[in-house]
């Protein structure tokens, strides 16, 4: 009888411990948000968003940082999405079971576990030095693209695997080819889950700092990459240029890192303000992904 009571006590004790531990993580997150917000909110202004970095903390802003981040993300997405989704389609829908396929799968599994700083070293050795891209937007975008590639492949494969085989059978049975089946039936059905994975992968790329530092992204940049489209008064009014790809860049997390590592109080305030912006972007992307997944789950099941 006594033992039973002890067991029951232990049981509720453990439950309390479980709640406490789980809440602990959430609490830390909350403290972090509040801390950053208290430090940085006062610095957040239109001026902060539209100024270049400066020696004087009060005058410094994140213009070159967020523009650089958008550039990098665009390049990363343009390269990683087709490559990642294409690889996943090949592996799920086409690949024969042979040694080469096995090798591809092992490579992907291995890449998914490689520390991000190593991707930076690859970018440095391959893109910056060997391809002579220097510390350009293109080199940064390529580096982050191969960093998120395994993440996109793995999540896309999972999304494709969730589509029942019967849907494919139905498509083949009315005389569809393999690509027609994939393009018209499997991909649209899996799109929600694919997008969830892609958004999560991109939100990871937004915050990546180490690989960009390793390839030598500059921390102080007072100009912007040349925009891809410029407008002028005379004919033909619009000019397209990819020159910006080869311009040096900085990015939001790098700017934050730069400010954090400076001893002056003013810069750490700037860092907090930058973090608010960065966290805003990451959290927004994650929320979209979580909502998307939730809605996908609520949809009719097969």
């Amino acid at each position: 009888m006594n033992r039973k009571i002890v067991n029951k006590r232990l049981d509720s004790l453990f439950k309390a411990l479980g709640i406490l531990t789980t809440v602990f993580g959430i609490l830390v997150l909350l403290v972090l948000f509040i801390d950053v917000f208290l430090d940085g909110a006062s610095r957040l202004s239109m001026n902060f968003l539209t100024s270049f970095p400066s020696r004087k903390p009060e005058a410094a802003g994140i213009l070159s940082a967020w523009v650089g981040t958008i550039w990098i993300m665009a390049v990363t997405a343009l390269i990683a999405l087709p490559l990642g989704i294409g690889s996943a389609i090949y592996l799920e829908e086409y690949a024969p079971k042979n040694r080469l396929t096995g090798l591809i799968e092992i490579s992907i599994a291995n890449l998914a576990g490689v520390p991000s700083v190593i991707f930076g070293l690859l970018g440095l050795g391959l893109f910056v030095r060997w391809f002579n891209l220097d510390r350009s937007v293109l080199a940064g975008g390529l580096t982050l693209a191969i960093l998120v590639l395994p993440v996109i492949i793995l999540s896309t494969r999972e999304a494709l695997r969730a589509i029942p085989f019967s849907i494919r059978e139905a498509s083949y049975a009315v005389g569809a080819t393999k690509w027609q089946t994939v393009y018209f039936q499997v991909l649209p059905a899996a799109l929600g889950n694919i997008m969830t994975g892609v958004i999560l992968a991109m939100s990871r790329a937004v915050g990546e700092t180490a690989p960009l530092i390793t390839i030598g992204a500059l921390t102080y940049i007072a100009f912007l990459p040349q925009p891809p489209v410029t407008f002028s008064g005379g004919f033909p009014f619009m000019h397209f240029s990819l020159q910006g790809l080869f311009d040096p860049f900085t990015a939001l997390p790098i700017q934050i890192f730069n400010w954090v590592s400076r001893p002056q109080k003013g810069f750490s305030v700037n860092a907090s303000a930058g973090i608010i912006v960065l966290l805003g972007i990451t959290l927004a992307m994650n929320s979209i992904a979580i909502i998307l997944r939730y809605r996908q789950r609520k949809k009719t099941r097969w």
């Binding site: 067991n7 972090l32 090949y90 490689v114 070293l121 690859l122 690509w179 700092t209 180490a210």
Partner: protein
């Protein structure tokens, strides 16, 4: 009668070939990493002996009196990893057990997305948090502590890794068949007894896989330690003084103006190679454990 449509066949073939090429990129990247690291590492070891690299107790490539002993960096890496795991193992496992065995469906629905956000916070933000919030806080309790130290970066890293262990272990707990639990309850066990004596042992290899993966993540973590742990390679297990990890050293050199092709430049590739091999082995171990676990239950 069933004549083939030549154009359609061609299009199908082209698409398949293209997708195949796309998937080859992953192999190229893997080969690229190994090639770049090996190339520079090889050049590095032409000038520095393997013996010095593995036995010298000082790491001072950027000084006049150069020493190339990886031990201090390795020590820093292991120290921060150890501290992180002291936090992440118990916390991750307890919260996994809670989520899988105790929590209601509704609680899980709220907690899991929050855990995901905890894992999604960029590491540079955690670095800021370790340096400018945790360290000042700890300093109030431990007066002798330095402004840069492995304790606060390890602690924050541990918190960052909790969601990883928690979600992977929870998956492992989930894979344990309900029948085993029911057998336990039928014998009059309490929930805790079932969790600890039946579910945990049954899911053990899966949980180990999660923990090993967490170690690998901690070993490769860069920004937190680059910001908050200092830049002083030191062969010590004192958590209160500045140290330097392998990853932080790579960042330190990258920030400076090290000329391409110099020995200093090559040190980061040698460090990268060391790190790559270390995490690779950890990942393989984790993978094997997971495979073993899946064989038992799937």
């Amino acid at each position: 009668m069933f004549r083939k449509n030549k154009f359609q066949k061609l299009k199908e073939d082209l698409i398949e070939k293209l997708l195949f090429l796309f998937s080859l990129v992953s192999i190229f990247v893997t080969v690229g990493i190994v090639a770049v690291l090996s190339f520079e590492t090889f050049a590095f070891f032409k000038e520095v002996s393997l013996l010095e690299f593995f036995t010298d107790t000082q790491w001072t490539p950027l000084f006049v009196r150069k020493h190339f002993g990886i031990l201090p960096l390795l020590c820093g890496t292991l120290l921060t990893t150890l501290i992180a795991m002291l936090i992440a193992f118990p916390a991750g496992l307890i919260s996994a057990a809670y989520l899988s065995e105790y929590a209601s469906e509704k609680a899980r629905g709220i907690i899991k997305p929050i855990m995901e956000i905890l894992a999604a916070v960029p590491t540079v933000v955690y670095g800021y948090f370790a340096l400018l919030f945790v360290t000042p806080l700890l300093k109030k309790c431990i007066p002798g502590m330095s402004g840069f130290n492995s304790l606060s970066s390890g602690l924050v890293m541990g918190i960052m890794i909790i969601p990883l262990i928690s979600s992977l272990s929870e998956d492992a707990f989930h894979a344990v068949p309900m029948g085993l639990r029911e057998a336990g309850y039928a014998l009059g066990s309490s929930r805790l007894q079932v969790s600890l004596r039946i579910v945990l042992p049954a899911a053990f290899s899966g949980v180990c896989a999660a923990c090993v993966l967490a170690i690998s993540r901690a070993v490769g973590e860069t920004m937190i330690v680059a910001i908050a742990a200092g830049q002083q390679p030191r062969l010590t297990f004192n958590p209160l003084v500045p140290i330097e990890t392998i990853t932080a050293y790579i960042v330190q050199v990258s920030l400076g103006d090290t000329p391409h092709g110099s020995l200093e430049y090559r040190t980061i590739f040698a460090c990268g190679m060391f790190l790559f091999v270390m995490t690779y082995f950890l990942n393989i171990v984790s993978y094997k454990l997971r495979k073993h676990f899946q064989q038992v239950y799937e």
